[in-house]
């Protein structure tokens, strides 16, 4: 989806096609995500902005609203770490016949695990496309989320759903696994990203079965497996016989809230530079770095939500700049609100 400045139809098209298969966990949605480039619209000169008529202003605002709702991900140190490690692992696994190594992202909610894992997928897909130009039937990345209270059949069905294999109640798990593995091998899947892995509890019968199913998939599909989940060490993913096998094969990258360091400031500066507001003065947000850290507890998810929400408010109300007052008005998630009220209490996921 390209929202180049000046194309009025751009945002309209973006909104109209937003509903069909926009989930990352389906192949069309994933492909759109990986090929999507968000281009920042150009700001109008002050005189031209003030002389816009109603229709022109509505168009211009819609274009910018659409842009601010999907700001590009910021390359944080964690994201860079994940991409480097993931890239290394995919190369190491390229010729491994068994016991492929994997990667686990573990950390509290809102610390950018899903963003990191999907951005790595996007990068990997771009690398694969560059290595095999013109081939459209390759599916280098497979992205699934573990459904809550998952059974092996549900997980296998998630894999099939991503690939677009039709699954009805008649299909048994053997058929689904066979189809998924066959298609995955044929389409050269080389990275399998499994999100929400904390939904899998190894202590329960179903959880153990799902873990075995994932293990079986990793044996059949020659790909690097990436797991992401909330505090998986505490969820018991590494305990027991199955857990020890996972612990022996997977590198764990913890994702944590950002400390109040210079990286936090530069992160805010990056986001601020990507804003497209008429009257916003540069470095306003950088000056509010302490306030923002206190409000969001260093959670990048909350920070992105806060700034984007304030930007949308600024466009809608016509003030066209983000101020502390505007930021105060944006309601954040429960965890961040709690932290702002009791800054020294330990944060729970």
């Amino acid at each position: 989806m390209v929202t180049s400045p000046g194309t009025v139809a751009g945002w309209r098209q973006a909104i109209e096609t937003a509903d069909d298969h926009r989930h990352l966990s389906t192949l069309p949605g994933w492909r759109r995500f990986t090929t999507e480039t968000v281009t920042a619209p150009d700001l109008l000169p002050r005189q031209r902005f003030s002389s816009l008529d109603n229709a022109g202003r509505a168009n211009y605002n819609e274009l910018r609203l659409d842009y601010h709702t999907r700001l590009a991900a910021v390359a944080t140190s964690t994201l860079r770490h994940v991409i480097t490690t993931g890239r290394r692992l995919t190369l190491l696994n390229r010729h491994a016949v068994s016991a492929r190594r994997g990667l686990i992202l573990s950390g509290p909610a809102g610390t950018g695990k899903t963003t990191a894992i999907t951005q790595f997928g996007k990068t990997h897909q771009a690398i694969d496309a560059a290595r095999h130009p013109g081939l459209t039937d390759r599916i280098p990345v497979l992205y699934v989320t573990v459904p809550p209270a998952a059974t092996p059949r549900m997980v296998a069905a998630e894999f099939a759903r991503f690939l677009g294999l039709p699954i009805t109640s008649r299909a048994n798990i053997t058929d689904i696994i066979e189809a998924v593995c066959g298609v995955a091998v044929d389409t050269r899947v080389s990275v399998v990203a499994v999100d929400e892995i904390h939904n899998l509890a190894l202590s329960t019968r179903n959880g153990a079965d799902v873990s075995d199913t994932l293990k079986y998939f990793s044996e059949r599909i020659p790909a690097t497996f990436l797991y992401a989940g909330i505090d998986v060490e505490k969820a018991g993913l590494f305990s027991g016989v199955r857990g020890s096998q996972i612990a022996g094969r997977f590198t764990v990258i913890p994702t944590n809230p950002f400390p109040r360091t210079s990286e936090w400031t530069s992160l805010i500066a990056t986001i601020e530079n990507s804003l497209r507001l008429q009257h916003h003065r540069t470095d306003t947000l950088v000056g509010l770095a302490d306030y923002l850290h206190q409000r969001t507890a260093g959670m990048i998810g909350s920070l992105s939500h806060l700034i984007r929400g304030a930007a949308l408010d600024a466009i809608l109300t016509g003030t066209e700049k983000i101020t502390r007052k505007l930021l105060d008005a944006v309601d954040l998630d429960h965890a961040a609100q709690n932290h702002a009220r009791h800054p020294h209490a330990a944060r729970r996921p």
Binding site: D137, I139, P166, A179
Partner: protein
């Protein structure tokens, strides 16, 4: 997968004009490592029924526009029925039967006036066999029903029979599914079901071959009957000799002869053809039992010259024809002896 929404399959294959839609679905299923029967059942309305392939559903799974699919696989186009076509066909059939009855009546009328079979055939533009039928009964015999086995089951009947034998309670749907999944076949469900129904309702029959004899009826053969195999063999060889002789008699090599000699030759050829005319139907596997009776009838009704010819040829073949030639002829030997 919920509702009617089907997404394009991850692996696509290109449809070919040289294949059927069923075969295309099979290739699509194989490319995506799905059971062919499973994918096939998704393409019907309602889903999981055993109907025909729905164009829109196949188009969704194949990720192609319906119009493009129809261009390659025209059988997928929705069928249109011409209203009144059945009634029209029925009316045509009734009219045809009525005309046939009228013609039979006309033939019978002329026959009563004393016309010969050959003359009747010429006058009414029918074959002599049809004249024979008209003389036998005034009601035309009904059309023979052609027994056609669907070619789609060629080579599959043995497998179906084996499945029925292994499990007599097996359902037609299961057999259909196994044929699709295990035997790489694409029969429609109705074809399979019809075959299974006939297999269950009729006694098992050995496959019908053209040279195979039907079971000999339980009735005892008469004591004076000639050996069947030798008679059949002789009849076939006789037919062969007759063809050769007619060929020689009508050959263009004699064209420079006088018109009288030519006439004689043609008459002779006609006589031979008349004797052998009924040999072919008697050699039919179902009618071979009547071969001896037929030859007896032929012998009795033949002219002297024809009888002489028959005897000479049987001698030539070394066939023991005494059972036939010792019979007294029915017709006075004078009528053809000209």
């Amino acid at each position: 997968m919920t509702g009617d929404l089907l997404l394009p399959l991850p692996r696509q294959v290109r449809p070919s004009a040289a294949e059927t839609a069923e075969r295309y679905v099979h290739r699509l299923a194989e490319a995506n490592h799905l059971r062919p029967s499973y994918l096939r059942l998704l393409l019907t309305t309602p889903p999981n029924s055993l109907g025909s392939i729905q164009l829109d559903k196949l188009a969704m799974l194949a990720g192609r526009a319906p119009a493009n699919l129809v261009r390659v696989l025209p059988e997928l186009a929705p069928r249109t029925r011409t209203p009144g076509r059945t009634r029209e066909n029925e009316a045509r059939k009734t009219l045809n039967e009525q005309r046939k009855r009228e013609r039979f009546a006309a033939i019978r009328y002329d026959a009563r006036l004393g016309m010969s079979i050959r003359a009747l055939a010429t006058k009414h533009h029918v074959s002599r066999r049809t004249v024979g039928k008209a003389l036998q009964s005034e009601i035309p015999p009904p059309r023979k029903k052609i027994e056609r086995q669907p070619t789609v089951l060629l080579g599959l009947r043995e497998h179906i029979d084996a499945m029925l034998e292994a499990d007599p309670a097996i359902t037609a749907a299961t057999i259909w599914q196994r044929l699709h999944d295990e035997h790489d076949a694409t029969p429609s469900y109705p074809a399979v079901r019809t075959y299974i129904t006939t297999r269950r309702t009729t006694r098992p029959q050995a496959p019908r071959l053209i040279d195979e004899l039907p079971a000999v009826p339980a009735t005892r053969r008469p004591a004076d009957a000639p050996p069947q195999a030798a008679t059949e063999e002789a009849a076939v060889r006789l037919l062969q000799l007759a063809f050769l002789e007619i060929r020689i008699l009508t050959s263009a090599a004699h064209d420079n002869q006088s018109a009288e000699a030519l006439d004689q030759r043609h008459q002779r050829a006609n006589e031979i053809a008349d004797i052998c005319h009924d040999l072919t139907p008697w050699l039919d596997p179902h009618r071979r039992n009547n071969l001896a009776d037929g030859l007896r009838h032929q012998w009795r009704s033949a002219g002297t010259r024809q009888r002489r010819w028959l005897q000479a040829r049987f001698d030539q073949l070394g066939y023991d024809h005494r059972w036939l030639t010792e019979l007294t002829p029915q017709t006075p030997p004078t009528n053809t002896d000209s």
